[in-house]
Amino acid sequence: MSSQVAEDPVARRPASDIAKIPFFRLVRVELRKMYDTRAGMWLLIAIGVITFAAVTLYLFFADANLLTFNGFVGVTLTPQGFLLPVLGILVVTSEWSQRTGLVSFTLEPSRGRILAAKIAAVVVLGVVAVVLLLGVAALGNVLGASLQGGDGSWTFGAEGYRDTAILQLMGILGGLAFGMILLNSAAAIVASFVLPLAFGILFGLVTALDDAAPWIDLGTAQRPLFDHTMEGDEWLQLLVTSLWWIVIPLAVGAYRVLRSEVK
């Protein structure tokens, strides 16, 4: 075993035969990095627990006529949505705060590929979170009808699935973007909670800004997603606010990651 390590001549394999690292391996590693540390594991557990907790509370405390699949999904979106951005943030900031970037960016010098792998990994996790949410909500609806005499309606429609996926994916990608801009876990987590809140308060108080709100404030633009009533201009408003809150931060963050010195 170790004798093989000790005796083989070093120069036996020509370096030019080596192939590029396939993209799926980079994604696999990024996914693994999210659960192989204590902090990462607990965050994933917390997302699972909060999803179950929201459904359980709704099951026992909501009025029977509100116990529908749509109701269960709606009540779970926000609590789960609190933690998904944190996941997105830690995917990138841990490379800086724990300095693992020193190894990651040495094994794959193309930082753009690593960023792409991180985005892919975060999307995979977002989809898993949505599937979990829908599964637990369905379970809640079945239990609601049998235990609580709930309505038990399954009316949801394609819009329901679409809006749920959009909301949670926007959350986790927004977190990633904040993480990439700030490259610091604490700062990014605080900013990703405080900034949307501050904007929400601003647009809530200043009525003169009512017309501008859906074009700037993420919360306002996302409201029809919760009600599954997206139509016409609201799509454009969602797109424009996503530009401010996700796309531009991602672009600036990518520029920063690609250019900065890794120490």
Binding site: K20, T100, P109, K263
Partner: protein, 256 residues
């Protein structure tokens, strides 16, 4: 347009690398080459620019001027570089909540290596099964160095670039590492390692590059450098110094 990777000739070529941070020059026109089958020691006090030079060589720090190649190409153009170049820049730069074995597992996935390679490397650096499953936050610096060396060797590279690998190792550990690197070079491997202590590397290095305040102040084979009785001096007024030396009856030669 993949550039040709070569397996003969100098393994590492550093040409005029400089790094300036505003008015501060961390690395000033550093040039050296490292031949296959040799161990080269980058020697200098803390803050001399050794780490910055190494970070520039592997693409983590963009150089202000100059360039470097490893195996004949810039590091950033190597495919799956961990399979050709083993790098250890800072043994403490690991997630404290991850265990040692897992760090090697992540490296093995990226490099496309079987799990058996992880066990081989853990055995090689003397990290037992129990230690490998402990979180790195609980590791001593010496254990982190062993893990870092295991990580650098994981991809069965031809070239090793190690920044202060002897830091935190006890005397037995330093002896062990010398043997390991000596054996690696004797099998045709190329090693560049840095240290701020001459006694850590004088036994193992064939070539020395001495660096101070970002500049190379001396380089050559260890034999010639350690047997040379002369002293290198710099002055503000070389002519006056030359006159004074001649007056004192001392022989000298000028260099730049």
């Amino acid at each position: 347009m993949t550039p040709a990777i070569h397996d003969a000739g100098p393994m590492i070529v550093v040409e005029g690398l400089s790094k300036r941070y505003g008015a501060f020059t961390a690395v000033d026109r550093v040039s050296f080459t490292v031949e296959p089958g040799t161990v080269t020691g980058l020697l200098g006090p803390n803050g001399a620019g050794k780490s910055t030079t190494m970070r520039m060589m592997v693409g983590l720090t963009p150089p202000t001027t100059g360039a470097s190649t490893i195996l004949g190409v810039p590091y950033s153009q190597l495919n799956n570089p961990g399979r050709s170049v083993g790098v250890l820049l800072d043994a403490s730069a690991q997630h404290s909540g991850r265990n040692g074995r897992e760090v090697l597992k992540l490296g093995a996935i990226v490099m496309g290596l079987p799990d058996s390679r992880i066990d081989e490397m853990l055995t090689l650096v003397g990290l037992g099964e129990v230690e490998a499953k402990r979180r790195i936050g609980n590791y001593s610096l010496g254990m982190r160095q062993r893990l870092g060396i295991a990580h650098a060797l994981l991809g069965d590279p031809k070239v090793l670039i190690l920044d202060e690998p002897a830091n935190g190792l006890d005397p037995a550990g330093i002896r062990w590492m010398r043997g390991l690197l000596r054996g690696f070079a004797e099998r045709g491997g190329t090693v560049l390692l840095s240290s701020h202590l001459i006694h850590e590397i004088e036994v193992i290095a064939d070539e020395l590059v001495v660096i101070g305040r970002g500049k190379i102040v001396a380089q050559g084979s260890k034999k010639s450098m350690l047997t040379d009785a002369g002293t290198m001096v710099r002055s503000l007024d070389d002519d006056a110094l030359a006159a004074a030396l001649t007056d004192a009856g001392l022989t000298f030669s000028a260099s730049n």
